[in-house]
């Protein structure tokens, strides 16, 4: 009997550096402008409003928000394993829109906009080498 070589499968972040975890709580990582208070995710290093890079810094953003709009995606590439829910969550208190896979509810169930959501880190898909691609996702607050 031959033993197969145990290849080490890696865990890879879908968007490198998009989140940090502290005390089991994940946080999104973006940027903030100290002049006008605007927050950006994905990070922007020049504030779109003040048009300056002064005082724009990497910042830990929140991990809670409210549902803005969502859909069930039935057709997507195989690795994403449709159907799945995808939506925009308004991050609180930053009030910026975050694109995210939604998880932690039955797809037959109708989520109302305004539903309180919280961030979790989960497997998103596997890549062609079998590595696990993980991402932030949002689920209804449990």
């Amino acid at each position: 009997m031959t033993t197969s070589v145990n290849e080490e499968k890696k865990v890879i972040e879908a968007i490198p550096g998009a989140f940090e975890i502290e005390d089991d709580h994940p946080y999104l990582v973006g940027t903030k402008c100290s002049k006008c208070g605007a927050a950006f995710f994905p990070p922007r290093f020049i504030c779109t409003y003040c048009l300056t890079d002064e005082g724009v810094q990497k910042a830990r953003l929140g991990n809670k928000g409210t549902l803005y709009s969502y859909t069930i995606i039935n057709v997507a590439s195989k690795e994403f394993n449709p159907p799945y829910a995808f939506g925009f969550v308004i991050l609180e208190p930053e009030k910026i829109r975050i694109p995210s896979v939604l998880t932690g509810f039955d797809l037959e169930e109708e989520l109302k906009s305004g539903t309180k959501m919280e961030m979790v880190i989960e497997r998103l898909r596997n890549d062609e080498h079998g590595n696990e691609i993980v991402s932030y996702k949002f689920r209804p607050v449990q």
Partner: protein, 388 residues
């Protein structure tokens, strides 16, 4: 700025051309436009060629314009390849217009060409995903129909629009497509068929989405003095506008600011209002897109297009014919070709050469193309207005 006329247009039938090279599609459309303008290839002084996906699908990037135009004997002149997602063709047309309007050139050519069918849907889908910011959107599982489904859900919530009203866009455009010999689809459908077809991304079913397609279109533009030598039926470019997104992360996604901007600029430049239009070719990549765009461009008051659909006001012969060609939903959407094909459609109506789908007495028409999806906004919007 000088007056600019469209003096010739050409277009292939849109459809599936698996075994036809793109240079042949481009050559046929370009030669048709040159013959229509009754000029010689040597009279063309500058050319712009729009394409969006070929580089990803076949690897043939960078020099498509030169490859196509050598087939019709156009060489030596400045040729620029233009890429701007679904607005690639209309952006190429706008560059050609600017070249003549500025006084730098007297005769310019705009071509749009695309082959999306690759015998491998995944490859076509990968190429189209390039219209989004792949790293943060496609990479997380947001598809292009997904983008539009999110807007549709928000739109329904805000304006009370029903799935049936969205479906009526597809019904109307498929009906118009039956009257257009160049249309990819020539088959009518009912509201029930649209609603019951395969769900892609709720609420968008497959008949609510444009198909993959191949094809090409071309237009010859000339200054007023030169146009008078070649044609007795010039169609004037009354306005050209191109805008990009705001990408504000707190913007309302049921309305696109860049379309309001481009619409306003175009009407100001043309010195007319939406009520003066007889037809509009509007970028209906999805049923919801026709809603958002006719309202965003200011053609129809905000929140009222549902009523327009119920009353049939955007059908041929209605208040304002929207997508008499069949639009992207039926005529098809070979991405880079679409913007120039829209120009050809408007020109045919203003010359009263649109056959069975002719908008009666058409004097003023609008062509609109928007492309891509970035930071839940649209990155490119191009509007042209034409007058007899």
């Amino acid at each position: 700025m000088r007056d600019v006329a469209v003096i010739g247009v050409g277009m292939t039938n849109f459809g599936k051309y698996l075994d036809t090279p793109i240079k042949e599609l481009g050559r046929v459309a370009t030669w048709d436009a040159i013959k229509d303008a009754q000029i010689s290839p040597k009279d063309i002084q500058i050319a712009y060629v729009g394409n969006a996906c070929l580089g990803v699908i076949t690897g043939q990037a960078m020099v498509l314009g030169q490859i196509i135009l050598k087939e019709v004997g156009i060489r030596g002149i400045p040729i620029t390849n233009v890429e701007n997602a679904c607005a690639s063709g209309s952006s190429a047309f706008r560059e050609a217009w600017m070249a003549v309007a500025s006084g730098m050139y007297d005769v310019a050519l705009a071509v749009g060409a695309e082959k999306l069918y690759a015998g491998d849907t995944r490859l076509s889908t990968k190429a189209l995903a390039g219209g989004s910011e792949i790293e943060y959107e496609a990479n997380l599982g947001l598809t292009m129909p997904g983008h539009w489904a999110l807007r549709a859900k928000r739109f329904m919530e805000k304006y009370g629009t029903s799935r049936e009203q969205f479906a009526k866009v597809s019904v109307k455009n498929h009906k118009n497509g039956c009257l257009n010999p160049r249309s990819q689809y020539k088959k009518e459908c009912t509201v029930e068929e649209v609603l019951n077809s395969r769900m892609i991304a709720d609420p968008l079913t497959i008949l609510s989405c444009n198909p993959l397609g191949d094809g090409a279109a071309a237009a010859v533009l000339a200054s007023k003095e030169v146009a008078a030598k070649y044609t007795t039926k010039p169609v004037w470019v009354a306005a050209s506008a191109l805008s990009s997104g705001s990408y504000d992360l707190d913007r309302e996604i049921s309305r696109n600011q860049l379309e309001e901007v481009a619409g306003r600029q175009a009407f100001e430049m043309a010195g007319i209002g939406p009520e003066d239009l007889d037809l509009a070719e509007v970028h209906d990549c999805f049923t919801i897109a026709e809603f958002m765009r006719v309202e965003g461009l200011g053609l129809v008051p905000e929140g009222e297009y549902g009523k327009w659909m119920d009353e049939g006001w955007s059908e041929i012969g209605g208040k304002l014919a929207v997508n008499p060609s069949g639009g992207l939903l039926a005529k098809g959407h070979p991405v880079g070709a679409t913007g120039v094909a829209q120009v050809a459609e408007v020109v045919w109506h203003l010359r009263e050469e649109a056959g069975e789908r002719q908008v009666p007495g058409a004097r003023v028409g609008l062509a609109h193309c928007s492309g891509g999806g970035v930071a839940s906004d649209t990155p490119a919007c191009c509007v042209h207005i034409f007058k007899k």
